[in-house]
Amino acid sequence: MVTPAPVPSNVPRPPQVSSSGSPALSSTSNGNSSVQVKEEPSYMSHGLPSGVQPNYSNPVAQQRAAQNLQQKFGQGANPQISQLHAQVAMSHQGRQQLQSTPQNIQLPPQMTEQQRQYMERQMQQARQMQQSQQRPQVPNPPVSSAQTDGTGEWDDLLTQHRAAALNGPNNTRTADLTIRQQLEESSRAMEGGGLMIPLSEQPKRLPARKRKIDAGNVAQFDGPNDSDEDAKGVKREDLGDEDDEDAINSDLDDPEDDVVEEEGDDSNQGQIMLCTYDKVQRVKNKWKCVLKDGILTTGGKE
């Protein structure tokens, strides 16, 4: 494949890019980087035929992109930058070789030192190109070859990642399987377990859960023991849990001949106001209550 492309990635780019007079420095470096730099002086010199210039709008953009990458990601962006350079350089090698001959012919007197170096380098490159591969001097094929080069690296990366992923997912697969098993079991438990208890039993189930926590048991005991624990939980509340009014009330209601109303309560469970009281006064038949922080549930609204 194309060897010159990956090599210059090690060479720090931005200094070369930013300094316009640097081509003399890079004249000793290898082909690709010289390609990259050599375009600048020719871009600066306006004596060249205008037909050449459009080609350099690209390298400028590419240089900017490279600078941008470098600024944003620092050293980490080097591979990408090098790839960028490689691609654009490839395409320009092709184009410049197409145009090099007429330039040589047309502009010998205007040639500066830099341009002479530039021409020499172009010739070198042309030789290199011919030596390395018999690449057709059409812009497109070099580009595609550069890209295939990149994808080759990418493929290597991919294969590495996949190899790593093959080792990794084994763990996650087992984890997934166990999770799925748990889910299936839970769905079975939902069907058969004591989950479908009516809402009216909710407050009784709370103390039951507390008991379970005290005993340090796990959810497996939830299903079979539910009824027993409910009874115990109610007993607990009876013994003096102040906050669970429902249980206390049901306990107190029975001796007070409120059994009928109690049943009525159960039937319209939604009709309830939960609140705290500030003051409850009674003057004969008139009650005056100042309540706070209430949630009223009635008629399906809250």
């Binding site: 909710q202 796990v218 549930t297």
Partner: protein, 110 residues
């Protein structure tokens, strides 16, 4: 943190749904019962706080007091033919309403 809060709001629809969900989670083995207990306790706390600080809505109601009881610092009223008048909404009629009311100045609570 260790301050006790009323648990009455667990009977509200949001409380029951929360507890149902937690129960589902426990039964499916996805959370520990201790965690559920903590969540419910937190729910008590948060609801009390929100009720105290955020809720400004007021309503008046009138009705026939059917049953009243006061036990362990908890008032329970059973009112029939109640008419609720909210701030700026239509009044609400209800056949029967149960009011469960805890002492707002509970000694344990400030």
């Amino acid at each position: 943190m260790n301050q006790e809060h009323y648990e009455i709001y667990r009977q509200s629809s949001i409380g029951t749904t929360l507890i149902d969900s937690l129960d589902d989670l426990i039964n499916s083995g996805r959370i520990e019962p201790q965690l559920a207990n903590k969540i419910v306790k937190n729910f008590d706390k948060i609801v009390s706080e929100v009720m105290n600080e955020k809720v400004k809505a007021r309503l008046n109601f009138k009705g026939h007091l059917d049953t009243y009881r006061f036990c362990d610092e908890v008032w329970t009223f059973l009112i029939k033919d109640v008419n609720f008048k909210l701030d700026n909404q239509n009044p609400i009629q209800a056949e029967k309403i149960k009011i469960v009311s805890c002492n707002s100045k509970r000694p344990g609570e400030t």
